[in-house]
Amino acid sequence: MLQYIRTRVLLTIPVLLGVSLLTFSILHLIPGDPARILLGDMGGGAAAGDTSDEAYQNLREELGLNDPLPIQYANYLGNVAKGDFGRSFQTNREVRDSILEVLPYTLQLTVVGLGIAIVLGGILGIIAALNRNTWIDSITMVFSLFGLAMPSFWLGFILIQLFALRWTIFPSTGTEGINTLVLPSLTLGLVASGVVARLVRSTMLEVLGQEYVTTARSKGLSERIVILRHALRNALIPVVTIVGLQFGGLLSGAVIIETVFARRGIGRLAVEAVLRRDFPMVQGTILVAALGYVLVNLIVDLSYAWLDPRIKYR
């Protein structure tokens, strides 16, 4: 087990390096010179080619753009490790501070959304599997098909129309207070629950066909015990992987949903940074999102091995 943990943790290191290399290269792959962009010197014909400008040279020096690329990358890594993501081109604030400020809101949104998706999707999946090939199964699967096809931003609008504008039960926008969390997390959870329901249904069906379920039945155990004690327990193991898989989807969903509900969060921060060409902020938000995703997947993999003794610890 320890060996497995060690290997799995070691394997994330190259991934993290790759992730940082990719976010690092954003600044160097954009057309044009970051220092010029920062100076707001977008077009400007002759001025754009004029590199003798003192402010411009100072800025290049300050951003470290005159160093060779490997040195720049090493510096970037060192800074990131210290938690220094640079300053926003837009506000000149520390990128780290802006991210830390909104990160809890995104975490709330994704965690509650995930909870809704798992509970709702899990229940629907189990009901569908137990009533296989009946109208209950069909309705559940139609629901999940709709969940897969529904644009989250449209669902968000519908919920706003109903619950915020017509009945004014929940606020349509904002970040403060638990009430503002209801509609966004419901949107996120509903969309994701379709996928979860499908997965739970198929794993449940698989488990129900296993020999130990037949054995449990032939022992004369009640159907309730067979399902709760024998089938569900084993069907839930693969569901843990869903958490890992869905987390990325939820994070992606959060990017859009934060905009729909004008919520503060890392996704909205990233989108606005891309729109305003605020590249240090783009780098920071994307790096943090990827780090979080890698971390969650690591935890999921480890808990999976812990839950399912059949997994070989290589």
């Binding site: 090939n133 897969l148 096809a149 519908i158 198929s202 859009i256 990233a270």
Partner: protein, 298 residues
């Protein structure tokens, strides 16, 4: 075909349930096939509408007409008009000319690059495999929209760049799928035989390996056209894709935001268009999967 080994005939009761289950399964798959056919029909209609857009609409999707602002659905404007007085029906129909190709092209980008990477990784193994799969691992470390954001951040917001962004973010799925298929196809007897008689590697890859990979890729490709359309519409919704006044469903939805309380149809119609299109594609893709590749299930 496979002979079934049975130890005596099953008891009557069991046989009866088996027969009933078979009948149920049959109706179920018939239903699924019906759904697939329905999906195909809706999709064909949409493609036809996109092609015939100028013939089946009576208004220009771009020219604004302030006196006609936010008119409700009526005989003149079937789906109403938007905040600039543009006919929403026309814009939805012309929007199909944007969204459908975007989905197709994004998937083509992903599938072709994924095919090359997967073939090379799966067939040559060793270093090629290690390097390619580590790159894929890194790409998978980004939630898909974040990868798309990186691409849009570098290339700038436009519908063309959204196609590229969505295409790139879908590459890992194809590479993994194709690599897996190639790994098993590589061991097939006729591939071994081709190798032994000295068929050039490129020919083995194209002639003998690739055909084994086609049907799962077609299935994944069909299903992911839907998710690509969703992703592209999402990016346009965020303002990172199609720029106004281009009629694009995601961007139209974003325009409808300010009318949510007063003029519901402005946001609802493009939303419906996206949902119906993706639903049709998924229904068709599910059916296709059942027919072409019963092994993969999600």
């Amino acid at each position: 075909m496979a002979r079934r080994v049975t130890a005596g005939a099953p008891p009557m009761e069991l046989r009866a349930t088996q027969a009933r289950n078979r009948r149920k399964d049959f109706f179920y798959s018939l239903l699924r096939t019906k759904a697939a056919l329905a999906g195909l029909m809706i999709l064909s209609l949409m493609i036809l509408a996109a092609i015939l857009a100028p013939l089946i609409t009576h208004y220009d999707p771009i020219v604004i007409s302030p006196p006609d602002r936010t008119l409700p659905p009526s005989r003149d404007h079937w789906l109403g008009t938007d905040g600039f007085g543009r006919d929403i029906y026309s814009r939805v129909v012309y929007g199909a000319r944007v969204s459908l190709p975007v989905g197709l092209i994004a998937v083509s980008i992903a599938a072709s690059i994924g095919a090359v990477l997967g073939l090379v990784a799966g067939y040559f193994g060793r270093y090629a495999d290690a390097i390619i799969m580590r790159i894929i691992d890194i790409m998978l470390a980004f939630p898909s929209i974040m990868l798309a954001l990186v691409v849009v951040a570098i290339l700038g917001p436009s519908i063309r760049n959204v196609m590229i962004a969505v295409g790139i973010s879908e590459i890992p799925r194809y590479t993994r799928l194709i690599r897996g298929q190639v790994l098993s196809a590589r061991e097939l007897l006729y591939v071994e035989a081709a190798k032994v008689i000295g068929v050039p590697t490129s020919k083995i890859l194209v002639r003998h390996i690739l055909p084994n990979v086609v049907s799962p890729v077609v299935v994944l490709g069909t299903l992911s056209v839907g998710s690509a359309i969703l992703a592209a519409a999402g990016l346009s919704f965020l303002g990172l894709g199609a720029q106004p006044p281009r009629p694009e469903w995601g961007a139209m939805l974003a325009d409808g935001r300010q009318f949510l309380s007063s003029h519901w149809w402005v946001a609802t119609m493009p939303g419906l268009a996206i949902a119906i299109t993706v639903l049709a594609i998924n229904m068709f893709g599910d059916g296709l999967r059942d027919i072409l590749d019963p092994r993969i299930r999600t």
